[in-house]
Amino acid sequence: MPTMNIIQAVNSALRIQMTNEPKAIILGEDVGKFGGVFRATAGLFDEFGEDRVIDTPLAEAGIIGAAIGMAIYGMRPIPEIQFSDFIFPAFDQIVNELAKFRYRSGGQYPCPVVIRTPVGGGIRGGHYHSQSPEALFIHTPGLKVVLPSNPYDAKGLLLACLKQDDPVLFMEPKKIYRASRGEVPEGEYTVEIGKAKVVSEGEQVTLIAYGAMVDIIKDAAKKAAEIGISCEVIDLRTLLPFDIETITESVTKTGRAVVVHEAPKTCGFGAELASSLYERCLASLEAPIERVCGFDTPFPYSLEHEYMPNADRVLGAIRKTLEW
């Protein structure tokens, strides 16, 4: 099996879809000859031509609006938003149109658009190349939200998204686009949407994260193990619908949980995960669920490393749940 990084895994999934599905069409800023600023669409322009890999004018509302029009006509558009910080000009098209199209038309117009967009900090991009806006979309009925943490899941989840008929926001953890490497099958396979992965089992505290933060909780679990604390590590993978069963089961077992994300804490996805868990596991809980998140400030530049959750902060939270 070849070794790939996340960019290569995404690229491989796209190539498979473009090959097998003649109605698949890629569009976005600089996705053509250039292959995208992160090179996720590299080679596809030459392989599939300018009619199926379309460099658009600079307008995110146009990219998503056009993708919607293509989808309701029967195509399978895969728009790219260059950075998720630039998704906001398309916010209305996404939350008021894409997400509601099937519903508002009484099921007449399904809208199978899979939006790809890099997300998160850690590349010294300041607040306009680092944001993690997933909570805004999880709160929007009608969208699925997926955010893998490694190349294998990235390819398998992307292929799964491309095969189903609901709109998806497929977010890619750009910090580890190249750093995360692993074995990935050359051919087609899918990873089920809506299923979390228990990365490693443990007894005392459940650590839950997604995307680039999965590496952080893995690290924290290792550090915790060194001082004799046993953690269960869960990679959520799909944020909506999130895998309530797996996390409930784990927290019922361990009685403690730490939820980690880069996005600001207040009204972040961690609040939903924690509330849902309390609703199901209150009797088993030995301590409040800890949230280790980005702070409620715009994402900074110079102090990026202070801003982002790290293994030490997660370890601190693990300890807090044990000492409560």
Binding site: I25, D51, R52, I54, T56, P57, A59, A61, G62, I64, G65, A66, A67, I68, G69, M70, A71, I72, Y73, G74, M75, P77, P89, D92, Q93, N96, E97, F101, R102, Y103, R104, S105, G106, G107, Q108, Y109, P110, P141, G142, K144, Q164, D165, D166, G194, L240, P241, I244, E245
Partner: protein, 375 residues
């Protein structure tokens, strides 16, 4: 209050076929339209007028939550005349005639207004927000302008699929101020998409006059910025509307790209049943526009051509009045959609959280009491 005079509107270049008395103006190119089609066009405009009037009446009686008329703008709807069934329409909320032309009948129309169990959109949207995928007419959205880049996407997909189908989208002049107008027009220009943009310039966007929407000489001239032709046409002149639309649809089908058409018309009444124009608009203004009434002008033309008769008009109007009476009774009697349908169509399948919420709602007392439904 300033008054918007049709004379000043006419001062710019404006394509016309019929004058205010329904006579063909000197030198005008009359589009070829069969007698049968002429009658169907007239019937559709009359149908809009009959429906609008009846609907507003039942709205005023408190039977209907909301309604939007298009009195005086009916001819603009028939920009759809040259379209084939495989062409797609992306309407705004004020083009009933386009729906009727396409075959969307009174029955569906009323069921949607009442959001009842027979509403093709399952009671999901406010009145006048129809959707008919079997007719290739796309679901209406309240946020204005969002359909513009969508129409471009559909048109681009048509082109990519190798068909010569086209997409047509409608919107008001106020909507030309949105970002979506710009990005849609610009994408269409760059992609040479087979799409026709129809601006219904009816002079008002709720209380905002068209002069406060744009400082440009006209709305049609905005086409220049997108490298496409712009046509300014008398929107109360059915033949001029059809002529312009013919031209734009032909261009699009021939692979020559998009066209912008500005139909100059006037919103005779309020924005919607919730509006009271007397607060912001000179009450004398609408009467200045009455001589330009599109139905009167078409009637006069048909009379001159000896196609029209009083009997015929009465027949049409009776037919639709009867249909309304019939389907109104049914639509009113029909219950709202079943409570459990609240959760359908969010996704193709119910995920766990919606299953849970559905179960919860079905257990609530009020869902078990059908009388509470329309409270």
């Amino acid at each position: 209050m300033n008054i918007k005079n049709p004379a000043t509107v006419d001062s710019l270049e404006l394509r016309r076929v019929l004058d205010d008395d329904g006579k063909v103006v000197a030198g005008a190119k009359v589009p070829e339209v069969s007698e049968k089609d002429l009658l169907r066009l007239f019937e559709t405009m009359l149908m809009v007028r009959v429906v609008d009037e009846r609907m507003m009446r039942i709205q005023r009686q408190g039977k209907l939550g909301f309604y939007m008329k298009s009195l005086g703008e009916e001819a603009t709807h028939l920009s759809v005349f040259p379209l084939r069934d495989d062409d797609w329409i992306f309407p705004s909320y004020r083009e009933q005639g386009a729906w009727f032309w396409r075959g969307y009948g009174i029955e569906n129309f009323l069921n949607q207004l009442f959001g009842n169990r027979k509403d093709p959109t399952k009671g999901r949207q406010m009145p006048v927000h129809h959707s008919a995928n079997w007719l290739n007419v796309v679901s209406i959205s309240s946020p204005v302008g969002t359909q513009i880049p969508q129409a471009v996407g559909t048109a681009a997909a048509m082109k990519a699929s190798g068909t010569d189908s086209v997409a047509m989208t409608f919107f008001g002049e106020g909507t030309s101020s949105t970002g979506e107008f710009h990005v849609g027009m610009n994408f269409a220009g760059v992609m040479k998409a087979p799409v026709i943009f129809v601006i219904r310039n009816n002079g008002w966007a709720i209380s905002t006059s068209s002069e406060r929407q744009s400082a440009a000489k006209s709305f049609a001239c905005k086409a220049v910025g997108y490298g496409m032709p712009g046509i300014r046409v008398d929107g109360n002149d059915i033949l001029a509307v059809i002529q312009a639309s013919n031209e734009a649809v032909e261009r699009a089908r021939a692979g020559l790209g998009p066209t912008l058409i500005e139909c100059v018309t006037y919103r005779i009444e309020g924005h919607s049943s919730s509006d009271d124009p007397s607060v912001y608009r000179n009450p004398a203004e609408p009467s200045l526009w009455e001589p330009k009434d599109p139905l009167n002008r078409m009637r006069a033309y048909l009379k001159n051509e000896s196609i029209w008769s009083e009997g015929l008009e009465k027949e049409i109007s009776d037919k639709y009045n009867d249909e309304i009476t019939k389907y109104l009774a049914i639509a009113e009697a029909e219950p709202p959609p079943a409570v459990e349908t609240l959760f359908d169509d969010v996704f193709q399948e119910l995920p766990w959280h919606l299953k849970e919420q559905k179960e919860y709602l079905m257990q609530q007392a009020r869902t078990k009491n059908p009388h509470l439904h329309n409270s």
